[in-house]
């Protein structure tokens, strides 16, 4: 008989201690719990102070990253109810166009257009998706993939909302502080808010609908109502992203419904790890800056990051965040078995 080994994973002592009230027993335990949450937040807020060092370009990259991360969070929340979307740009575009329309037609300032664009865009998308909430899996995905394409052509042919040219001359955001901290704050709000939401009883229902919608239905729960609510909440994050970027770019046009805003968030979520929200955010903060850094390579960068994506999906299908989390919380050792 050959002796074989298998990998055993055990929680670290510090993980077990800090799960409970004992976390208050020492600074070490408190830091163990707090640092992974506080450090990224601090890093994001301090970033603007480093502007002389990093330059305007990278500040813009971080703002774009926040926008994509919001879309990734929105994708992740919809995936938690079992709605796999291939059309996150629907939310982005709806928020963007509504904001652009309100600003250019009525001249509303940004602090009115962004909230109205966010809520209105989310509401519009939810109503648009209501009839297809009964669909599951691939069928829902196909519909979401089609809707942004449909809306693009609709705007182009009817020449409403600026038609193919889009709406330009939208008022700019007042200063760098607003430009940077509004999306950063929105991202953190969504990240921690969604994480909280999914661990509440409400989130248990959402996860139940994803795993087993018939059983949830037999528990006297109207799953379509919950799905619609989840789409609205997720839509708020996505539409905010669009609403904000409209003012940031001072332009809204058909690129708002582009495939990029659908596929990039999805890729971020898959790369970072689905279902934790922190994973999607991490994915965005890796993928977006990386694709900007590789811009010098020209078209070749697409090859590079597609290849990297395939390597990660095959080699680390759970996502980077789950991997890091496991290493942080558990240790592995080989044990004999026969």
């Amino acid at each position: 008989m050959t002796v074989r080994y298998r990998k055993e994973r055990l929680d670290r002592g510090i993980k077990a201690r800090s799960d409970d009230i004992f976390v208050l027993s020492s600074y070490r335990e408190m830091l163990y719990v707090l640092l992974p949450r506080v450090l990224p937040v601090l890093a994001l807020f301090i970033f603007l102070l480093l502007k002389p060092l990093v330059g305007l370009y990278w500040e813009k990259v971080v703002v774009l990253t926040c926008a994509i991360a919001l879309l990734a969070l929105s994708w992740d929340l919809m995936a938690s109810v079992g709605l796999v979307s291939l059309g996150q740009s629907l939310f982005f575009g709806a928020g963007a166009y509504l904001t652009g329309f309100l600003n250019s037609t009525f001249g509303w300032p940004y602090f009115l257009t962004i909230p109205v664009g966010t809520l209105g865009g989310a509401l519009f998308c939810t109503i648009l998706l209501l009839p297809v909430l009964r669909l599951r899996g691939i069928y829902f995905a196909i519909v979401t993939l089609t809707l942004p394409l449909l809306l693009t052509r609709f705007i182009e042919t009817t020449k409403i909302l600026g038609g193919g040219q889009g709406i330009s001359g939208i008022s700019a955001l007042p200063n760098t502080l607003v430009e940077f901290y509004v999306p950063a704050f929105a991202l953190l709000l969504c990240l921690f808010g969604f994480r909280r939401l999914i661990n509440e009883d409400y989130g248990v229902i959402l996860q139940g609908i994803r795993d087993n919608d018939l059983a949830v239905m037999s528990a006297a729960i109207n799953i379509y109502r919950f799905r619609a609510q989840a789409v609205f909440i997720a839509g708020t994050a996505g539409a905010f992203s669009g609403a904000f970027m409209t003012h940031y770019f001072q332009f809204v046009g058909m690129p708002a419904f582009a495939l990029d805003y659908s596929i990039l968030p999805l890729t971020c979520a898959v790369l970072g790890g689905v279902g934790t929200f922190a994973g999607s955010t991490l994915g965005a903060f890796i993928l977006v800056p990386l694709s900007e850094a590789l811009r010098a390579l020209g078209t070749l960068r697409v090859v590079f990051y597609s290849a990297m994506l395939i390597i990660f999906v095959v080699g680390l299908p759970e996502g980077i965040f789950h991997y890091i989390q496991r290493k942080y919380q558990q240790f592995e050792r080989l044990v004999e078995f026969d």
Binding site: D201, I205, G208, A215, V216, A219, A220, I223
Partner: protein
Amino acid sequence: MEDNTILRVEGLSKAFGGVVAVNKVSFHVKKGELLGIIGPNGSGKSTLVNLVTGFVKPDSGKVIYRGLDITRKMPYKIAELGISRTFQMVRPFYQLPAFKNLIIPLYSRRVKKLRGGKYGERDDIAIDLLEEVGFERDSFVPYKVASSLPHGYLKRLELARCLALKADLLILDELFSGMSMSEVASSLPIIEKLHEEGISMIMVEHRLKELFRLANRVITLNFGSKIADGHPSEVMESDAVKAAYLGSEDDD
């Protein structure tokens, strides 16, 4: 008569393609009654349950619950009215701890209405319910992840979900199948207790011995049609039932 009947099924039919799964079945359940449904494999028992609970829409016929036509209502609507079912194939939420599984029915409007909307106490209620169906609290069984529990516990978890809803009519679709003898023995008192509390029940069952002990009345299905209806002892003696289970000489 009408006051006494909680569920009335009239001429219910359903065909899948060319196969008639349920063929003009009519029956009723009186308040507080425990009705057994038996029949050989493929006789349409589970389809009948799916038709009554709204998971499958019938081709024709009516389901009337407390004088209300519920034939084409959505499953959650029917559950909200107080008909709760277990699934023959267990459908727990595997990734959640057992007690978190019950959060879902406890979050429904029906329960909020019945229990007066006590929000913070759902975990406690869930654990009490699980203890009621035999999850040992002392050995922390309610806290275990559903995927790590044996099949017998998952079956009882299904039952606990119905209890959480405070259903007026329980439909137990082969609750005992896949349970060990000791698990069946420990589940019987739970059902007897519910029966004594006056909850109406429909039990679809293959374990005839246990069923005949519990049931007030038994109906038998064969090839989608009702072939017998009556007291367990009458049904057991019926020639049609014997023929359905054992096959008769003039059948072939």
